[in-house]
């Protein structure tokens, strides 16, 4: 245990005044630990890792770790990460987003990052609530839950992050929990190591803003809830439909081996710039069709 503490200490920034912003009982620190252990296990140097975070409690993780860190605008972490990865494919770019970031305001960026299979790892810290802003409902707040903006219960359905990412074409899709930490370490490391877009949804508790209003008396109750309801995917699949209830499968959902966008782009560029290749202009539209294509372009894109 002591050596793990020491290891984490190695990767924290010491020129920043602690304590951190996380409440007692928050799961985000566990994710921070899993992130550091995974990076350490993969033998990555601090300089080649770039953490790109969104806005919210999860976004603050970036400030504490001693990597290249960017704390972006709300929901836009993946767009910055895409720029960084395309600009320097050698970097290991990892985004940290909350459920508000990834599923609401940045939902469009998430599905497009998955579709274009950019070589970025996305950690989505799902605590079912907007924690930092004071406990308003998010796109993953379960139906019926009470929040500051659903005082009479949430009527809308929650997003299933894993299904969404898989449908959008992500190369790897995983779900872990802050209770099943060894598994989480493994999932995060795998997601960082593999090519293309890999997403890990991490079930993490927010007792302060979600638990207290939804019958979880203490932070421990929330962890008990996670322990009970997060079951390995194989086990979950074997359960009869009727017994599934609130239960969530954790583990590996998708693992494909498509090349990342930055890799495909690099190959294209190498092909185009191969020495001795005739320098041909890109195919010009004909005199007759130039205007047509121009006019098609002039059709408003939006």
């Amino acid at each position: 245990m002591a050596d793990i503490t020491e290891l984490i200490h190695d990767y924290l920034r010491h020129n920043k005044k602690f304590p951190h912003v996380f409440c007692a009982g928050c799961g985000h620190g566990i994710v921070l630990g899993a992130l550091i252990r995974s990076i350490h296990a993969l033998g990555l140097s601090k300089d080649e890792v770039c953490i790109v975070a969104g806005i919210g409690c999860s976004g603050r993780i970036a400030a504490y770790v001693d990597f290249n860190t960017v704390h972006t605008t709300h929901g836009r972490a993946l767009t910055f990460a895409t720029g960084i990865k395309m600009a320097n494919p050698k970097l290991k770019v990892i985004t940290i987003m909350g459920d508000g970031d990834a599923m609401s305001i940045g939902g469009n960026h998430l599905i497009h990052a998955a579709r274009r299979n950019i070589g970025v790892t996305a950690l989505v810290l799902n605590n079912n609530i907007y924690g930092m802003t004071g406990g308003q409902c998010s796109a993953t707040t379960p139906q019926g839950a009470t929040t500051q903006t659903t005082p009479f219960g949430q009527m809308e359905k929650a997003f299933d992050i894993v299904t969404l990412a898989a449908a959008a074409g992500a190369n790897g899709v995983y779900r872990g929990s802050t209770f099943h930490v060894n598994m989480l370490d493994r999932l995060v490391a795998t997601a960082i190591e593999r090519p293309g877009f890999n997403l890990v949804e991490i079930i993490t508790p927010c007792h302060t803003q979600y638990g207290r209003k939804n019958k979880y008396k203490s932070a421990v109750d929330m962890f008990k809830w996670i322990k009970k309801n997060c079951v390995p995917k194989e086990k979950f699949d074997a359960l009869p439909e009727a017994d599934r209830g609130e239960k969530m499968p954790i583990g590996t959902f998708v693992e494909k081996d498509h090349k990342g966008l930055e890799q495909l782009y690099g190959e294209l560029q190498a092909r185009l710039n191969r020495p001795g290749r005739p320098v041909a202009e890109p195919e010009q539209p004909s005199a007759q069709h130039a205007e047509e294509s121009r006019n098609i372009m002039n059709k408003e894109p939006k």
Binding site: E283, S286, A287, Q288, A290, E291, E292, N295, N298, K299
Partner: protein, 205 residues
Amino acid sequence: MKTAQELNRFEIRLSGTGGQGIITLGRILGGGLALGMGYHVTQTQSYGPEARGGASRSDLVVSSRRISYPKTESIDLLVALSQEACYAYYRFIKPGGVLLVDSGLVRQTPSNVFLGLPFTDLTVRKLKVPQAMNVVVLGALTWLLPFAEARVMKQALRDSLPPKLHELNLKAFQLGYSEARKAFDPHEAWTPKPDDDDGDERIVL
């Protein structure tokens, strides 16, 4: 053989409907005059958001000196390839200016002083490729404009097209050029005729 002339804001408007290749025509004509003949040229364009069927026009200002205002104010040569365009822009022609129409598409001209060739019909009949009409017009304009050389315009055409389209488009150019040579006398076209507009007014901005 044509020689370079001193020009002070010679204004050309090419007009018609989207899909006729008006803007491409303007680009090639302007490119030839600017890069080949060495004039100062501005080519601007105006069109609707539609892909086809909307109004489309391209304006060129050709000058020996630097051009400040890039759009046209009083037109020396209006090319109208649709009835609507002819109606809409006729009034901007300056006294002594020339109107050239597709006589197959423009049935009514506001004045009986105009030059016409059935560009679209010619293209369809002789080349079987209706899209080449804009280059047929380019050929005709090259004959008509006292400061455009056929050699230069052909080069401009080649420069802006992929090689596989050269043959067809040079044929189209030649068609327009020779038809225009049969039909028009440039010297006469650009000589102001004092009583040519039999009383109908041309409004000049």
